[in-house]
Symmetry: C2
Subunit: 146 residues, 2 copies
DNA sequence: TATTGTTATACTCTATAACTATA
DNA sequence: TATAGTTATAGAGTATAACAATA
């Protein structure tokens, strides 16, 4: 006989909290005309781990066609430049613009506001334990970019 | 000047981890013909916090019409009974069947398997810190049922 | 009239498949 | 032929709006 309750599992709590947090983050992003996946793309670019659209699709684990529309939107906002690689003109190399970096900073600001909401009411020790635990888990799960 | 990196925020990590975890949980649920929201409904029922479809919709924060189709599916699987309340025949009162409880136990099993995957490679101390931190956060965020 | 549940419809997000251009 | 990107199309998931039954 197993007495574990589903709402007490990590899977359930992480899934539910993730949805709540993404919803709150998303609401703040709307002010900048962005969705979470746009931020994922900006973050992927800034990390330097991918530049071409296909590499970004792999890193984000989304379809290449989705990267097209995300990049369209970000280009339209002036957040990135799209340039054909001279060495292989099939590749579209995406580069963050200064405007894109500023936009990313605004998104980061939005995220830290959500963080503040989440941790208000937690002791400093609890908040630090949470950060530390998530860092370990994120590293271990091989976090792709959302 | 702000040096916080977006991937280091709680919002980003919780959102991303939540998506990964939900995906893994979902893959295991498929074996039972369920999606995460079905599990949310079963969990809501088992909690005793809601019985009528409208109450469940409020608790889960989803549209009443979605509860209809989730309950349709669960009824079809024999996991719940639908009965009009004699006192107010507009209300459909949902009740977990024995089969429903068994199904919920299988879902819980799936969740604990995901938990095991997540925490393998973490020290016992790290795993406990994570559980504890999430418990605090979940309580504080007033976790609705996924 | 107001409320509960249901059905009909539409919208958002994302993937798959077909296509173009380069290699 | 194979690959990068694009466009066209389709599917999943969910919400909103219209409706029926009951209060």
């Amino acid at each position: 006989m197993n007495d574990v309750k589903l709402p007490e599992t990590l899977a359930f709590q992480l899934g539910t909290l993730g949805a709540v947090v993404t919803e709150r983050f998303s609401a703040r992003l709307a002010a900048h005309g962005l969705k979470p996946k746009h931020v994922g793309l900006l973050t992927a670019l800034e990390s330097g781990m991918a530049a071409s659209q296909l590499d970004i699709a792999k890193l984000m684990d989304v379809a290449p066609s989705l990267v097209v529309s995300l990049a369209d939107r970000l280009e339209e906002l002036g957040a990135l430049r799209r340039e054909r690689a001279p060495s292989d003109r099939r590749r579209q190399v995406l580069t963050l613009t200064t405007e894109g970096r500023e936009l990313l900073a605004l998104c980061t600001q939005a995220a830290t506001e959500v963080d503040a909401e989440l941790t208000q009411g937690l002791t400093a020790g609890e908040a630090e334990a949470l950060r530390s635990a998530l860092r370990v888990l994120a590293r271990h799960a091989g976090l792709p970019v959302t």
